[in-house]
Symmetry: C2
Subunit: 127 residues, 2 copies
C-alpha cells in the first residue's frame, strides 16, 4: 500500500516549516490557496502565506514544531479533504493539539497541492 | 451581502433530507461525491448516496431532522470548505451536535455542488 501521496506531502510541509524552509513550504500550495493564520485572519496566495509563515517563525523564535498525530483522507477525483490531529509546540508555549482540516486539489500533472489550510478546524466558527 | 450561495444550498439540502425528497438531495452532489454514512463507511456517487439517505430515513422512521447551528465557509476559486455545527435529531434519539466538514466544488456553469460530505468531522479518525 504505502502512504497516501497527500500524507507524504503533509510530512514534507511539516519538515519544511520546522526547518523554516519557506520556499519548500509555498511550493506545496496552489497559487490561490487560503491559509487560516488564526481564526478570522486568512492569508491568500503564496506571497501572503510565506509572509505569514515567516511572522509565525519569528513569533516563536525559531522553535516552532509542527507534526501530525493521525489523519484520515477523504478523496474523490481531483479533490481531497484531510482531517488531522496536528500537534503544535514551541519553546515557552505549551503543546496544543489541533483538529486540523486541509483541502487538497490535484493539478493536471497529477500533483496534489494544498488549496485550503485550516489547522484550527471548527475554531474558525464565530471568529 | 445576503447569504453565501453554499449556505443556501445547505439549507435546501437539509429541507430536502427532512422531507425525504431524495431527488432534490442528490441534485446537490457532484457525480462522484463521497458521503460519510458513518465513520469508516462511505457512499460514493449519487446512486449510493440516495440509497444511504433512504436507509437512514427508514432507520429513523421518517423523523430525522437535520439543521445547521452556525457555519464558516473558506473559499478559493472553485473550491470551498465548510465548517458547520450540524444538529441531528429524531424521535427516540437524543439530539446530537456534530462538527461537520463539507467540501464544495463550483462547476463550469457556476453552480456549487457538494463533493465531500463528512458530517462526522474528526470522528472519522481511527474509524
Amino acid at each position: 500500500m504505502g502512504e497516501h501521496p497527500i500524507a507524504l506531502l503533509i510530512a514534507r510541509a511539516d519538515k519544511a516549516i520546522n526547518e523554516e524552509n519557506f520556499d519548500a513550504v509555498v511550493d506545496l500550495y496552489t497559487d490561490d490557496a487560503v491559509l487560516v493564520v488564526k481564526p478570522g485572519t486568512n492569508a491568500v496566495g503564496k506571497h501572503e502565506i510565506r509572509r505569514a509563515m515567516e511572522a509565525i517563525a519569528v513569533h516563536f523564535n525559531g522553535t516552532l514544531d509542527v507534526r501530525q498525530a493521525g489523519m484520515t483522507i477523504l478523496e474523490t477525483g481531483d479533490t481531497a479533504l484531510v482531517l488531522a490531529k496536528t500537534l503544535v509546540s514551541a519553546n515557552a508555549s505549551p503543546a496544543v493539539e489541533r483538529k486540523a482540516t486541509y483541502v487538497f486539489r490535484k493539478a493536471l500533472d497529477g500533483q496534489w497541492l494544498c488549496a485550503i489550510d485550516n489547522s484550527y478546524g471548527h475554531g474558525v466558527l464565530n471568529a
